[in-house]
């Protein structure tokens, strides 16, 4: 009698446990704010950090009450964390309806795996929407001649910022050439101030230096060849010269001590500039808004200076060339339901670049990527900076998309890793070029 009793009991225990196990396993699958909700509305993941988060929240808060059937649910993530999370979610078919990104190589991966919808037809149906944007911003949204993403937000060129107080104190002018930079490095080091702030642990921050230097030295053709995967494109002498110049700057203590333990996400690099611990910083134009918010009137009092990246003697690149993000992009997950896709498209059309949102971007010191904003820019209290960025967007003969976004994720990760080592001087410029050359076509 004993045996059947025990086994029945254990069987019951097993039966009782099984649902838990199933629930536990399936919970892993559906816990993300995924695309499984059947009704209306669309989910979106977006970047945390100001001023973007507030602006997006305003846009969503304005859109949702008026479109109760197409509610947008937005979740915010830190920049560096988001880049990994979205890839994993897409691979697991758990992506949100609206996929935020930077276009280029990442978008190409998604498009070629049929994870994002082709929006070409939709743009043809909505010519007014298409005409709203700077024409140049569609480049990074286009894969094999088809548009896979809605450009949005603002143009974000990389700008050389400087602290006007420190320059006045030192009695020097902002740099116009690479030689100016090297002499300023000495001036500021003698003053006990770090010449350049840099959040080197984030690595893409160091990459911005290479992007500009390579353009100034070799012109846009060098990176275009790399982008197209031409054989030995990384072995161009301009790449090696760029690496050499960077290591000269590192050796001359051009960057703040401890730059490789600073991350951009913590915004400590910006704090170094506005707190007067560093004299200059090469960073994205979005930091203007962030410094305006965090910098205790540093920006408001006109202490923040900005200049285009200096020229390099004998270099081929046009000093008006820019690098950075031509725009940010939003795609629609092909795995979302039709209803969700409709909601997302409605938000794209009516919710994302409304006048309120455009004004919010301008107020936070960014240049939205829509036409006909000259008047608004001129009326802003930040008009000096906004016109500087706008002029860069409009007049640049070449605007290079950030390398880590333009290249495939595989090549981009290798690039960031090698840049880190280049800045640490643990590899030579020659080795850097060779290591990168091995990633061509990957």
């Amino acid at each position: 009698m004993k045996q059947p009793q025990t086994s029945r009991r254990s069987f019951l225990a097993l039966a009782a446990l099984t649902p838990f196990a199933v629930a536990a396993t399936s919970a892993c699958g559906t816990s993300g704010p995924g695309a499984s909700s059947g009704g209306g509305g669309a989910s979106m993941w977006y970047l945390s950090g100001e001023p973007n988060q507030t602006t997006m929240q305003k846009a969503v808060d304005a859109f949702n009450p008026a479109n109760s059937a197409d509610k947008i649910t937005v979740t915010y993530f830190q920049n560096d964390a988001y880049k990994t999370k979205i890839k994993t979610a897409i691979g697991a078919n758990q992506a949100p309806t609206i996929i935020y990104g930077w276009g280029g190589g990442g978008l190409k991966t998604y498009a070629e795996a049929n994870q994002v919808d082709d929006l070409t037809g939709w743009f043809d149906q909505n010519p007014d929407l298409k005409k709203k944007f700077f024409p140049s911003v569609f480049g990074a949204a286009t894969v094999n001649g088809k548009i896979y993403a809605l450009p949005n937000q603002y143009i974000a060129p990389i700008v050389l910022f400087y602290n006007k107080d420190l320059f006045q104190k030192a009695g020097v002018q902002p740099p116009q050439t690479w030689d100016d930079i090297m002499s300023l490095v000495k001036t500021f080091n003698d003053m006990g101030v770090a010449p350049f702030s840099l959040g080197g642990q984030s690595r893409w921050t160091s990459m911005m230096w290479l992007e500009y230097l390579l353009d100034r030295i070799g012109g846009p053709e060098v990176f275009n060849a790399i982008f197209e995967g031409k054989p030995n494109a990384w072995m161009d002498p301009a790449v090696i010269q760029t690496g050499t110049k960077i290591q000269e700057l590192v050796s001359a203590d051009g960057f703040i001590k401890g730059f490789s333990s600073i991350t951009a996400d913590s915004q400590a690099d910006q704090a170094l500039l506005f707190s007067g611990k560093a004299a200059m910083m090469l960073h994205g134009s979005w930091t203007y808004g962030a410094m305006k918010k965090a910098g205790q009137n540093f920006v408001q009092n006109g202490k923040l200076g900005f200049v285009p990246f200096p020229t390099v003697a004998g270099g081929k690149g046009d000093p008006k060339n820019g690098v950075g993000n031509p725009a940010q992009y939003m795609s629609i997950s092909s795995k979302a339901s039709d209803k969700e896709k409709e909601s997302a498209k409605k938000f794209f059309k009516d919710g994302i670049l409304t006048d309120t949102v455009i004004d919010a971007y301008i107020n936070s010191g960014s240049v939205p990527i829509v036409n006909g904003i000259e008047n608004k820019l001129n009326m802003s209290e930040d008009k000096e900076f906004l016109n500087f960025v706008y002029g860069m967007a409009k007049n640049a003969p070449n605007f290079q998309q950030s390398w880590d976004q333009a290249l495939s994720p595989t090549a981009a990760e290798a690039l960031l890793n090698n840049i880190d080592q280049l800045f640490l001087k643990s590899i030579t410029p020659q080795q850097f070029a060779e290591n990168m050359n091995a990633t061509l076509g990957k």
């Binding site: 086994s7 225990a13 890839k87 642990q201 401890g258 994720p409 595989t410 643990s426």
Partner: protein
């Protein structure tokens, strides 16, 4: 883990003829089913998946294609693998050397009965309550060369580029790991010490042994299996240190803290190379199993023998 292994031979030694024992064994077999189910779903199936993926090319997003041995050749030819392997073993060995004496001594200390020890023990165990990510973020903020503890307290010697210089970063990683895990091992040793019969110490006292002699001749030998358990957890656990290092240094500066587990993650999820990442995962499994088996063997052949014979 060690319990499951040790019951099997013992049961085999017993005469298996009597009926109740057989019945009991069937019942016991039933009871293992839930555990077996979880083990299959969460350990065996993913392991098989990783093994298959190590022969496939997959970017984590698109279609999975066969790659034959390509991943294995490319990973085994990559100097990055050997750098990661070396770092993993370095961190493992140094961590063991640092953590074992500290936790052993703290464990012996906290196993005592004086009242103030309880209060101190609570303090020692605090790091155990914090998640690795939180620990890493806190240390990162404290060690920031410009806005960290050094500036706050005006201690210039603390203002090193802790996470920016390869050797310092590696040392710091080992320190933070120890800070986080010593309390756990202390707890294990504390339990072990409390199991030692008082009569052994009383007998030693009568024989004239002092505190130090008692420690080396009673406490330490009696803790043999505790040391093996704690070391197994430390050594095998160090293969999977990931979250802490990922948040603290991200494997940098350069590749100076890019241990195997982190290398696997970065290859798989950052560089979209799931095939090579799976190869590293398989290597990790093999190393982990080999180490665990080796440490079990250290217990000696008489591991089932009691240490308390004659008591």
């Amino acid at each position: 883990m060690s319990n499951a292994v040790s019951t099997a031979p013992r049961a085999a030694v017993r005469p298996a003829s009597s009926k109740p024992t057989e019945q009991r064994k069937t019942a016991l077999a039933w009871l293992t089913l839930p555990a077996l189910f979880f083990f299959l779903v969460f350990a065996v199936v993913p392991l098989a998946g990783v093994l298959i993926l190590s022969f496939a090319s997959w970017d984590g997003i698109g279609a999975i294609g066969a790659a034959g041995l390509d991943n294995w050749f490319s990973v085994l030819a990559d100097p990055g693998l050997y750098n990661a392997l070396g770092l993993t073993f370095l961190i493992m060995i140094v961590s063991w050397l640092v953590q074992t004496p500290i936790s052993l001594l703290l464990g012996v200390f906290t196993a005592g009965s004086q009242r103030y020890r309880a209060a101190l023990a609570v303090l020692y165990f605090l790091p155990l309550l914090l998640s690795s990510a939180a620990v890493a973020i806190a240390f990162k903020a404290l060690l920031d060369p410009n806005f960290g503890l050094a500036t706050g307290l005006g201690l210039p010697f603390l203002a090193q580029d802790w996470l920016g210089v390869p050797q310092l970063a590696l040392g710091l990683v080992i320190f933070v790991i120890a800070w986080q895990f010593v309390p756990f091992h202390t707890l294990i040793y504390q339990g072990g010490v409390r199991q030692i019969p008082k009569s052994l110490y009383e007998a030693a006292q009568i024989d004239g042994a002092g505190t130090i002699k008692q420690f080396f001749h009673i406490t330490l030998p009696q803790l043999k299996y505790t040391i093996i358990t704690s070391s197994t957890l430390m050594v095998v656990g160090s293969l999977t240190y990931f979250d802490l290092i990922f948040v603290l240094t991200g494997g940098g500066p350069g590749n100076s803290t890019r241990i195997l587990a982190l290398d696997m993650y970065l290859r798989g999820f950052r560089a979209n190379l799931m095939g090579p990442a799976s190869v590293i995962a398989v290597i990790l499994v093999i190393i982990g199993l080999a180490l665990a088996l080796f440490l079990q063997r250290l217990g000696g052949k008489d591991k089932q023998g009691s240490q308390l014979e004659g008591l």
